[in-house]
C-alpha cells in the first residue's frame, strides 16, 4: 500500500517537475497562436525590465546598460555605418545591365518597406527575407547574387532599413497552415539547445539579457532584428542578419547553417513577428 502511494507521489512530482520545466515553451499544443505568442513574448520583457521604455528594446545591449548607452550615443552623432549607408543608397539607384533597378522588384520602389520583411510567400510556400528578395531581384535581372553576410548586401539592406527608420515592425502571418508552421519552426529553433555549449538563442537572449557573457552585455531578444544590418565594432564593419545568425552559431560552438537556410529564415520570421509594433532602428551600431 505504502509503496504504491510512494510511487504515485513520485510519478506525480516527476510529472509536475516535467511540466514546470517544459511549460514556458509549450504554448498551445494543438493550435499555433502567433498573436498570443507575441503578446506573451513582449510582456515577458516589459515585466522583466519595467524601467526600459518599450521602444528602447530595439537598441539591444544599450537598453540594458547606461555606460554602454552613453558610448553608443556619442558614436551615433556620426555613426560608423555612414559609409555603408551612402554606398547602399548609390547601389540601390544604380541600374542593372538590363536597365532595370531594384525599385522595379519591390513595392513602393523599395522605399520604406523594410518593416514588412520577412513575409510569407504563399505561392512558394516559404518565408522570404529582405536579403533573399534582393538577391532574387539581382538574379531575375541577370546579375550575380551578392554574398549574404556583408559588403554590398549589408550596404543595400542598410539603405532600405534607413528609409524605414522609426516605422513599426509589421510582419504578417497569413491564415495558411504553412505560414503558421514556419512561425512554429522558427520559434522551435529559437528555443532549442544546440552545439557544444548547449545554448539555445533563448539561453542568452531570453534568460540573460542585460547580464554578461564573458565581457559582453547580452541584448534582449525582443526587437533584436530591428536594428539590422549592423556595424559591429567586433567586425570593424557591417554585417547582415545572415552574418549574425551564422557567427552566433559558430561562437556558441554549434554548427552554423548556410545563410538563408530554411531554419534561419523561419527564425527571422518568428523574431520579427514577435517584435511587431517596435520601431525599425536600422542600420545599427553594436559592440
Amino acid at each position: 500500500m505504502k509503496a504504491r502511494f510512494a510511487l504515485l507521489l513520485g510519478s506525480l512530482s516527476a510529472a509536475l517537475v516535467a511540466f514546470a520545466l517544459t511549460s514556458p515553451r509549450v504554448i498551445a499544443a494543438d493550435k499555433v497562436d502567433p498573436v498570443a505568442d507575441a503578446k506573451a513574448f513582449q510582456n515577458f520583457f516589459f515585466q522583466k525590465f519595467p524601467t526600459v521604455k518599450h521602444d528602447d528594446f530595439v537598441n539591444g545591449p544599450y537598453s540594458m546598460n547606461e555606460d554602454m548607452k552613453r558610448q553608443w550615443q556619442e558614436k551615433e552623432e556620426f555613426p560608423p555605418y555612414e559609409f555603408a549607408l551612402d554606398a547602399g543608397k548609390e547601389m540601390f539607384s544604380t541600374p542593372f545591365k538590363n536597365g532595370k533597378t531594384y525599385a522595379d522588384c519591390f513595392p513602393n520602389g523599395g522605399i520604406g518597406i523594410r518593416q514588412n520583411y520577412p513575409y510569407f510567400d504563399t505561392g512558394e510556400g516559404k518565408v522570404v527575407t529582405l536579403e533573399l528578395a534582393l538577391n532574387r531581384c539581382r538574379e531575375a535581372n541577370g546579375e550575380a547574387p551578392y554574398s549574404y553576410v556583408k559588403d554590398e548586401m549589408a550596404s543595400l539592406t542598410a539603405y532600405m532599413a534607413f528609409t524605414s527608420r522609426g516605422k513599426p515592425m509589421d510582419i504578417k502571418i497569413p491564415d495558411d497552415p504553412r505560414a503558421l508552421a514556419a512561425f512554429e519552426n522558427g520559434k522551435r529553433y529559437f528555443y532549442t539547445r544546440r552545439g557544444q555549449m548547449n545554448f539555445s538563442c533563448a539561453s542568452c537572449h531570453v534568460q540573460s539579457p542585460g547580464e554578461r557573457i564573458r565581457a559582453e552585455i547580452l541584448a534582449p531578444a525582443l526587437g533584436i532584428l530591428n536594428a539590422m544590418p549592423i556595424y559591429r565594432s567586433e567586425w570593424s564593419g557591417m554585417g547582415t542578419t545572415s552574418r549574425r545568425f551564422v557567427t552566433c552559431n559558430s561562437q556558441t560552438r554549434a554548427v552554423p547553417l548556410e545563410p538563408q537556410a530554411d531554419e534561419y529564415r523561419d527564425v527571422e520570421y518568428f523574431l520579427s513577428y514577435v517584435a511587431n509594433g517596435l520601431p525599425i532602428s536600422g542600420p545599427g551600431a553594436r559592440p
Partner: protein, 103 residues
C-alpha cells in the same frame, strides 16, 4: 561619393561646431591578415581644418586613432555660409581634401 571626408559644420551664433568622420583604415602595422602577414601601417598623420584663410584646428594622429576616425571641435569667428576646408595626409603619401559650407 568620391570624398573620404564627411563633415557637419553648424554655426550657432559666433560658435561653429564641426564634426568630421573620415573613411580610412588607420592600420597600426601590428595586425596580421588571414595569410599571417603583417598588414603595414597605414594611417592619417595630419588633418587640417581651415576657414577664412587660417587654420582653425590641426590634428596630429598616430596609429591609436580608431579606424574611420572621428573628431569634434568648435571655433569662433565664422558664420553660416562660410567655407570650411578640410584636408588630410597619411603616412603613405595619400591625401584627400574637401570643402564644406557652414550651415
Amino acid at each position: 561619393m568620391a570624398s573620404s571626408i564627411r563633415v557637419r559644420a553648424t554655426a550657432n551664433g559666433d560658435i561653429t561646431e564641426v564634426q568630421a568622420l573620415i573613411q580610412h583604415p588607420m592600420d597600426t602595422g601590428l595586425v596580421k591578415d588571414s595569410k599571417g602577414e603583417l598588414i603595414p601601417a597605414h594611417y592619417i598623420q595630419v588633418l587640417k581644418f581651415e576657414c577664412n584663410g587660417k587654420d582653425v584646428f590641426v590634428a596630429n594622429w598616430g596609429t591609436a586613432v580608431s579606424k574611420d576616425p572621428y573628431v569634434k571641435f568648435s571655433f569662433k569667428g565664422a558664420k553660416k555660409g562660410d567655407d570650411l576646408k578640410i584636408s588630410w595626409t597619411d603616412n603613405k603619401g595619400g591625401s584627400d581634401t574637401t570643402t564644406a559650407k557652414i550651415a
